[in-house]
């Protein structure tokens, strides 16, 4: 049974439709990344999944039940890290976490242990006595993460955890998410940073309220480019290179051949091949280019910026 499942989920605010027929499944123990530009509907989808908002149409099930009908027990299995810092600046780091732990009915000893574990996990134990208002923005985010995991939820919703953070801190967050997944937790993470999709097990691209693409990072690359991408570097005059490339179009596994004229550096030319399966296509490409000055053939992992751009453009 999937941890999260939506069927034809529609959410409207007045006359504005924010989510349009979202079909989604998130399996237990995976990091699901929801990526999309600002205003795409990521937070609305997350809020609907947590039960804070009701769906206008369609069906939402988390742990097999509509989340807006969750009782205390089901809520104990959820953890939420909101987009902004919502804890209390006048309280110390530890007081904040103690407060959240109490909300989840942790006993005194359990609370002591789990608060410490959570603070150590986000590396804030040494700062536990500081007022939350006196720690840095990055630390506040980590405190918020600690608050989301202090009760060891099975499912963790994380709303744009790395927004406005520096790359080092972003990387740290994702390392922590991976650790949490390794502990057997399911994570639903929204982000604007397309490159973070690579850290997810599966990714959904949300654009204009529609799930434009859904799959593993590799599947999405394929979806965006129509297959895998091989980058070819050839020596020789441009005309000669074009002649050599023309042979590739007849290979069955090659979907598209594109010479990159802008990247040409004197006698060296570049081309991209879209192939349905790189492992199968590679020997055939070498064979077809027999006699040409092939300098290198690499399997290219295009950036998710590009993947995302292509998917959104294709969707629109």
């Amino acid at each position: 049974m999937p941890v999260i499942e939506t069927k034809n989920l529609v959410r409207r605010f007045g006359g504005t439709t924010v989510l349009r027929g979202i079909d989604l499944r998130v399996e237990e123990g995976e990091i699901f990344g929801l990526i999309g530009p600002s205003g795409a509907g990521k937070s609305t989808l997350l809020r609907t999944l947590t039960g804070y908002l009701k769906p206008t149409e369609g069906e939402v099930r988390v742990f097999g039940r509509p989340p807006e009908k969750f009782g205390t027990e089901e809520r104990r299995r959820l953890g939420v890290m909101p987009q902004k810092f919502v804890l209390y600046e006048n309280l110390s780091v530890k007081q904040n976490l103690n407060f959240v732990a109490r909300l989840y009915d942790l006993s005194f000893f359990e609370r002591r242990r789990k608060v410490r574990e959570a603070l150590e996990f986000v590396e804030l134990w040494e700062h536990r006595r500081k007022a939350a208002g006196n720690i840095s923005g990055g630390m506040q985010r980590r405190l918020q993460l600690a608050a989301a995991i202090v009760h060891s939820p099975r499912l963790l919703f994380v709303d744009e955890p790395t927004a406005s953070l520096d790359p080092i801190l972003r990387r740290r967050f994702w390392d922590e998410f991976v650790q949490l997944r390794e502990q057997g937790r399911t994570l639903f993470v929204t982000t604007q940073y397309v490159d973070e999709a690579a850290r997810c097990d599966r990714v959904g691209f949300l654009a204009n309220g529609t799930l434009a693409a859904l799959g593993t990072p590799d599947e999405l690359r394929r979806q965006a480019f129509g297959g895998e991408v091989l980058e070819l570097t050839l020596g020789g005059e441009p005309g000669q290179v074009s002649w050599s490339l023309s042979f590739l179009k007849d290979i069955g596994h090659v979907v598209e051949v594109r010479e990159d004229e802008e990247a040409a550096e004197g006698p060296v030319s570049h081309a991209r091949l879209i192939v349905d399966d790189a492992d199968v296509a590679m020997p055939q490409v070498f064979s077809a280019l027999n006699g040409a000055d092939v300098r290198s053939v690499d399997i290219l992992k295009p950036s998710f910026d590009e993947v995302f751009f292509r998917l959104v453009r294709g969707n629109s």
Partner: protein
């Protein structure tokens, strides 16, 4: 299972209460404001409130050498008692200029010839100029001026009555003298009607009859007519006839004698005069002028001074305002910060949020206000007519109702600014409609209707009852507190539940 749920719920409620407590305690400036602010306000109020009547400064304008000036000199003390008398001016323009510059509060203009006006059948006008825009508390000059005119009229009437009474006494004395003479006449008439007098008159009549007969004989015997005898006979006859007439009157009695002599008419006239003069009242002119005197008796056990009277009101408003200020931000702050969304996903329910916040705020508001009340009672010697426990009970009830109302405002507000505005509006409404500034019983609808929705209405009245009247909280006020608290908490809870959109 059920007891476990209750324990869990209590644990979450306590978590919210503890969080709120530390959140407040970690804001020393807020605590200082909460604690010191009300105390300072109360002390400043007690120290600066004027309990004595304020006399307006006044100048008098009167024409030199006029009757008005004489009048002013005669009754000058009346002017100086009613005002802070600044002096006499001759020009109204000059005096009005002082008024406009704020150097005086009133210009009293005395008419030059008041008697002349009065003799023409009109009232003499004492004009008073003043300058105020406050229709409620700016009535000092009109009130004092009214008092001055009443006072002057009274003084003048008193002098006139004294003079008239003296004249009446004089007339009465003269009348008494005339009455004495009339009495003597009466006595004479009585004497004339006595049997002895009748005998004497009969003898006189007989003697006159004999004399007349003798004279007639003499005349007949005389040679020739005698003028002297003729005259003597005529005179004797007249005398006899008069005596006869008098004898007849004597027979009728003294009244007939008085009637024939005009004494009766004199008596009647004197009687009428006596009735018209009347008795000279044996009462002082001041009593005659003011036959009634006002004697007030306040049946309450304790009559407070102005500051003492206002203390329950200020305390009630302070409790309500601190409670509503804290509570009105409670929910909306969590909502706008995003914490509420965090709570919504957690096991924490709206009832637990409200209860937890309530526990801390109630404790805090009560602690602050008990400190304020203690400071007032002991440092300013504000008396408590019932028991301290009763006053504390009212404070608890007012706190509970106010917190409920504050939570409701907070659940309704969409932003913190809106919540603050709602709390301020409520404070202003309480100032006007809760019986703090103006007595509720002197107001009509819609003010009376609005007052029912303000916790301070019940709070001020209940604090006045317990602190000043020495009575217990009335059932009506208890009902008011309970209704506001129950309805507010229920509505706030429902609104928080329904906010899931």
């Amino acid at each position: 299972m059920r007891s476990m749920r209750i324990l869990s719920s209590w644990s979450r409620t306590r978590a919210v209460a503890v969080k709120e407590f530390w959140d407040l305690v970690r804001q020393p400036q807020l605590l200082l404001l909460l604690l010191l602010g009300p105390v300072l306000i109360m002390v400043a109020f007690a120290l600066s409130f004027q309990t004595e009547n304020i006399l307006p400064r006044a100048v008098v304008v009167v024409e030199e050498g006029s009757e008005g000036e004489e009048l002013f000199r005669e009754y000058r003390d009346r002017f100086t008692v009613r005002t802070q008398f600044q002096g006499v001016l001759r020009s109204v323009e000059e005096a009005d200029a002082l008024l406009r510059r704020g150097e005086t509060d009133a210009v009293i203009i005395i008419p030059p010839e008041p008697s002349e006006t009065v003799l023409q059948g009109e009232q003499a006008v004492l004009r008073v100029h003043y300058a105020t825009i406050n229709p409620v508390f700016g009535t000092t000059v009109p009130n004092r001026a009214n008092g001055l005119v009443l006072d002057l009229n009274q003084q003048i009437v008193r002098a006139g009555v004294t003079r008239e009474i003296e004249n009446l006494r004089q007339a009465r004395r003269q009348f008494e003298e005339i009455n004495e003479i009339a009495a003597q006449i009466n006595a004479a008439a009585e004497a004339l009607a006595s049997e002895e007098a009748q005998g004497l008159t009969a003898e006189l009549y007989t003697a006159l009859t004999s004399l007349e007969s003798t004279l007639i004989v003499l005349e007949n015997e005389a040679e020739g007519p005698s003028e002297e005898l003729g005259t003597a006979i005529d005179r004797t006859r007249e005398a006899r006839e008069l005596v006869q007439e008098f004898r007849e009157a004597q027979k009728e009695g003294a009244e007939e004698i008085k009637a024939r002599t005009g004494a009766l008419e004199l008596e009647r006239a004197l009687s009428e005069l006596g009735a018209s003069i009347g008795e000279v009242p044996d009462v002082p002119p001041s009593v005659l002028v003011n036959p009634f005197r006002l004697e007030l008796e306040n049946l309450v056990a304790f009559e407070p001074e102005v500051v003492e009277f206002y203390v329950p009101g200020v305390l009630g408003i302070l409790i309500q305002h601190i409670a509503i200020s804290l509570a009105s931000l409670a929910i909306v702050r969590e909502r706008t910060s995003g914490a509420y969304e965090f709570f919504e996903v957690s096991p924490l329910g709206p009832g637990e949020i409200l209860s937890g916040k309530f526990l801390t705020y109630a404790g805090m508001v009560l602690a602050v206000n008990l400190a304020v009340a203690a400071a007032l009672i002991y440092s300013l010697n504000i008396p408590v007519q019932s028991s301290y426990l009763m006053v504390a009970a009212v404070m608890v009830l007012l706190t509970v109702a106010s917190l409920g109302f504050g939570f409701l405002l907070s659940a309704l507000a969409r932003s913190q600014l809106q919540a603050i505005q709602l709390a301020m509006l409520h404070l202003i409404a309480s100032g006007f409609f809760a019986g703090f500034l103006f007595p509720l019983e002197e107001m009509t609808q819609p003010a009376q209707g609005i007052s029912h929705f303000l916790p301070a209405t019940y709070g001020i009245r209940a604090l006045q009852d317990t602190m000043l009247r020495g009575t217990a909280i009335s059932p009506w006020d208890l009902g008011g507190f309970a209704a506001i608290a129950l309805v507010s908490f229920a509505l706030a809870w429902l609104l928080m539940r329904r906010r899931k959109i």
